[in-house]
Symmetry: C2
Subunit: 370 residues, 2 copies
């Protein structure tokens, strides 16, 4: 049996903790926040090229970002680029993609991969996803990837793993016992060192029809709305129906609408994946993923075109969009983010609290900087 | 006896530790580095207005700064604004001013006050300087002001005080036993708590003729050069002689050429002065002198026109020339200096090491930023 596979890239999310690089008008996935020479979206697209060709690769993004996405992904097909009139979270985005795939290809398996994550080992990623595709086609279950925790993260959700399933073509696949929310530090430590929990990397691989069935059962209104949109897709009414129906859709994460109920019903499979995954959630992640290399500086990573850093007894990361010279003197684990209209200085340890600063900027009446 | 008094404001020095606000082309004294609504030079001028009118107030500055000085000090007289073709330190600057004063007014007392220091209590300053003027006119000695140490500073030179002189009109005047260089921390602690040492605020008050005599005795070449310049002053040859002689002058501090030998000869008087003096030597000084006031922020001082700071659990000082919003998150005692072409981030504790960063900027080939 040859499985037809479609990759879905939900390109949404605000990346508030990466402000002031990430903005409402130009969020995280559109930036080369790691200084790799390509944006997070471009890196995601390149990875999925190993899974599906452009005719099988869908990008779902906000209307405001369609032009930027098209510019960054010259090979994305117009009929695979789905524009959301408003952000409605992942259940709507991936659900619509599933329906559009299903109309063309009722047997297809789809896999969703966020546009703003980082993976160091693409070969391993591709191999694991192939196992997931095989498992999804074989079982009709929802397959997810569970990343081995490398530290007791409190910023990630976890998946409790169950029995080994001994599936053909997916030898490491296990039953997923439960999805658990971001834990506190004490719980995270237990999870990380137990061997029985894995990070939820937000990747879901399943037959399109299976996802649609779960939506019908768990979120019938959402299912009905998406069905109306999918039926009008490609017709002269596409735009009209989209604009009428989409704004009314429930805003729900696919985790809550599909993955958790499916796990409770014993219908989720988890495949261990150790390919250097990180959700690039804050500047501490950025600093970790982009440690300085000899020749750059002893302790400071410099990210950004033409960025010039002079550092004296300092450690940290400088992200610059301005090309100004940045001098650091005697500062430790500092994060400096230099953009044309806003400057952020924080420490790696406080990276999660950048969100509070963004709220403060809003309160200060500077919505133009969000 | 009515003493004729002339104030001399040497407006020089690079203020390297206040980079990137202070630049070679626009040094410290030309900046409102404390956010007081006037530059350090303007504040100095305003203070000396209580001592001398514009016909008796001299400003000695680099040729490159003459226009800026004239712009900042609308009342400075052209014939009292002395332009140095090159920086030759304080002995040449104050020595020339003394000779120019002496030509007009052989009995005059002069006092020199750096253009880039801060004083909180002007009334007390004026009162102390009046005592110094009286002492200088009465004794023919060099009179200096000794500031009571408020902490064991290692960035200031000290004056060891001797016996009380019981001078009429200057009841607190003492003999100065010795000038000592910037001490190490252990020595500074001894000095500060001994009661027998005072900070050398670099203020010298003396009869112009006395300074000239000391120059003749201690630095005959410098004296000869300055004499040639002073003789040509106001003649058609002024410019020619200045350009010929000035570049050859010895570069010496008045402390070494005059004050120390005079002290060794028992010819220096020190008058205690407690008027909130600070040399604004680095950003730690700036942060100390400009602590946040309620209403601004709990912990962050914001200096600069239109500067906007959003701070979350942070303490420190932000100095901005760009008007960009600056967000601080979880950083302590930080110093952020935001200018159009260079950004400095350091801590108050490392403020002295900014000099090393400036050297690094130079080494990096960015002399344009110095």
């Amino acid at each position: 049996m040859t499985t037809s596979f479609h990759a879905v890239i939900p390109a949404g999310g605000s990346g508030t903790r990466l402000w002031p690089v990430s903005r409402v008008a130009r969020p995280k996935f559109l930036h080369d926040i790691l200084g790799m020479g390509r944006t997070l979206l471009q890196a995601t697209w390149e990875r999925t090229e190993g899974l599906a060709d452009p005719s099988h690769t869908w990008v779902v993004t906000g209307e405001a970002h369609v032009d930027a996405v098209r510019e960054q992904l010259p090979h994305v097909r117009d009929d695979r680029l789905v524009a959301e009139p408003a952000p409605k979270d992942s259940a709507a985005a991936i659900g619509l993609a599933a329906m559009l795939v299903h109309r063309e290809d009722p047997e297809a398996v789809i896999g969703s991969f966020s546009a703003d994550h980082s993976i160091t080992n693409t070969a391993e990623f591709l191999s694991v996803v192939q196992h997931a595709i095989t498992a999804a086609a074989q079982t009709g279950d929802i397959v997810t990837i569970g990343v081995t925790p490398t530290y007791p993260a409190t910023a990630y959700g976890y998946i409790k793993t169950g029995d080994l399933l001994h599936l053909e073509g997916a030898p490491t696949a296990r039953r997923a016992a439960e999805f658990v929310e971001k834990p506190n530090a004490a719980t995270a430590r237990v999870y990380a060192y137990s061997g029985g929990y894995r990070w939820n990397a937000g990747m879901f691989i399943m037959q399109a029809s299976v996802l649609i069935d779960f939506l019908a059962a768990q979120a019938p209104d959402l299912h009905a709305g998406l069905t109306r949109i999918a039926e009008a897709w490609g017709t002269p009414c596409q735009r009209e129906i989209m604009d009428e129906v989409w704004p009314q859709l429930e805003k729900k994460a696919i985790d809550y609408v599909v993955a958790e109920p499916a796990a409770a019903a014993g219908r989720v499979i988890v495949i261990p994946g150790d390919f250097g995954w990180d959700d690039v959630g804050d500047f501490d992640s950025v600093a970790k993923l982009r440690q300085p290399v000899p020749g750059e500086s002893a302790g400071v990573s410099a990210i950004g075109a033409g960025v010039e850093v002079v550092d004296i007894e300092s450690r940290g990361v400088v992200i610059s969009e301005t090309g100004r010279l940045v001098a650091l003197v005697g500062v430790d684990d500092l994060v400096v983010v230099d953009t044309e209209d806003a400057l952020l200085v924080t420490s790696r340890a406080h990276a999660q609290q950048v969100k509070a600063a963004v709220a403060g900027v809003d309160r200060a009446g500077r919505g133009d900087l969000l």
